[in-house]
Subunit: 253 residues, 2 copies
């Protein structure tokens, strides 16, 4: 979408054009970018170089960007701080991280914890597989809810009607094979808080060649066990045999 259309939309939605333009400068960075020049930033956001220069000065002053000696820019430390504060606002890292490590160790596959953000799921924490070939979720990734086991479980325990969600609520877990990424199979379980609201999901993922239905059966025991322990640690109750739960939908928006 061209910059001008985004400006009009910002205005129509009651926002501030200059602010959304500046944030677009931050968003221009991808995971592969160690640094970006002013000219490249201007090209990526579709604005003139003097305009982008002014934005980089403000973002740098506030710590969101750092200007290197060679006049290129990189993401700044304030993002580390606010990113950590975002994660800490869930107040669960000290429980989730050890759980993920145990899960990765016991299953040999990558483990990740997702939370729902609007109509997507966000990878909040992850531990990679000890094996050389493994699925690699990235912290901060936003992924669809209706593709892949973690998203399906989040939808199920947010009250989404119909199948497969009714079945997921009965079973207490879900497995998919190549649903989002053709090469990746995943299994996920919900994690509950003290109000029995679903806080997030714990998931294991690996290549479809290694995770078939037998592997699902093998991985399910530690996944459930560790998810249940996480639930207990976070103040939720687990129910024997994961019988049907009809929980009130918990919204986060």
């Amino acid at each position: 979408m061209p910059r001008q259309a985004l400006d009009i939309e910002a205005r129509e939605e009651g926002g501030v054009i200059a602010v959304e333009r500046a944030l677009a400068v931050l968003d221009a960075f991808t995971a592969d970018d160690r640094s970006l020049s002013l000219a490249e930033l201007a090209r990526r956001v579709g604005l003139s170089k003097p305009t982008v220069l002014r934005f980089t000065k403000s973002l740098a002053r506030a710590g969101y960007l750092v200007r290197n000696d060679d006049a290129t820019f990189r993401l700044g430390p304030k993002l580390a701080r606010l990113g950590a504060m975002y994660q800490a606002s869930f107040r669960i890292e000290d429980y989730v991280q050890p759980a993920l490590r145990r899960l990765a160790q016991e299953t040999g596959e990558s483990a990740a914890f997702y939370v729902q953000e609007g109509d997507k799921r966000l990878c909040l924490f992850r531990v990679d597989s000890p094996q050389s070939i493994g699925h690699r979720a990235r912290t901060g990734d936003l992924l669809p809810l209706d593709r892949g086991a973690p998203g399906r479980v989040l939808l199920a325990f947010s009250g989404e009607p119909g199948e497969p969600y009714d079945q997921i609520r009965r079973d207490g877990f879900y497995a998919t094979f190549g649903e989002r990424d053709p090469q990746v199979a995943s299994i996920a379980c919900p994690v509950f808080g003290h109000g029995q609201e679903v806080i997030g999901v714990l998931g294991v993922a690996g290549p479809t060649g290694r995770i078939d239905t037998h592997a699902v059966a093998r991985h399910l025991e530690p996944l459930r066990s560790i998810a249940d322990e996480l639930t207990r640690q976070l103040g939720g109750k687990t129910e024997s045999h994961h019988s049907t739960r009809r929980l009130r939908a918990s919204t986060r928006a």
Copy 2:
């Protein structure tokens, strides 16, 4: 500093006033804030409520804030993403995290990894002590360079002249007792990359009652060992007996 003075400074420095105001809204959140109301945000940043409302709309549209159902705001998922990208831009997490866990386990104290950001140090990764009493660094914390062992080591290996830096360069480590926080003692070692530039420092910290000079001697062996292993993993070379290094100053700004 009042908002008006900050606006003038932004202008004088060639920035964009509205952008720095909006970033101030993000900065208004502290680690204790689960959510903040519009009115509270307006008070904290010293702007009118309609102005802050416009900023929150732009920040929410871009994913930096989330508006809750009860019209309060919390930090948004984009910060998790960019914070993770900031950390990942160091490309060292997969080595540092296991090293920190081993260090915490072997010493029984909290372990943290710091990098230099301008004239401060930023806590990039940390693992807390297994004991119930322990120092608790927070990811994203910005701390002074000239207070506490990690900062001193960063200064030493960035070429800072004089004592104690000459001695630190000779010894290859530094210990402080209550220098930054009266109750906290810390020990730190440098970690080098393949160009022999210092990437960051590895540090252990705990209460001064538990970390005396005997404890320093005890902790130093695993700290050095693990820091050396990190250096090797990251492409740097370790020198026997940590003899004197006169490395060219490495600037990051």
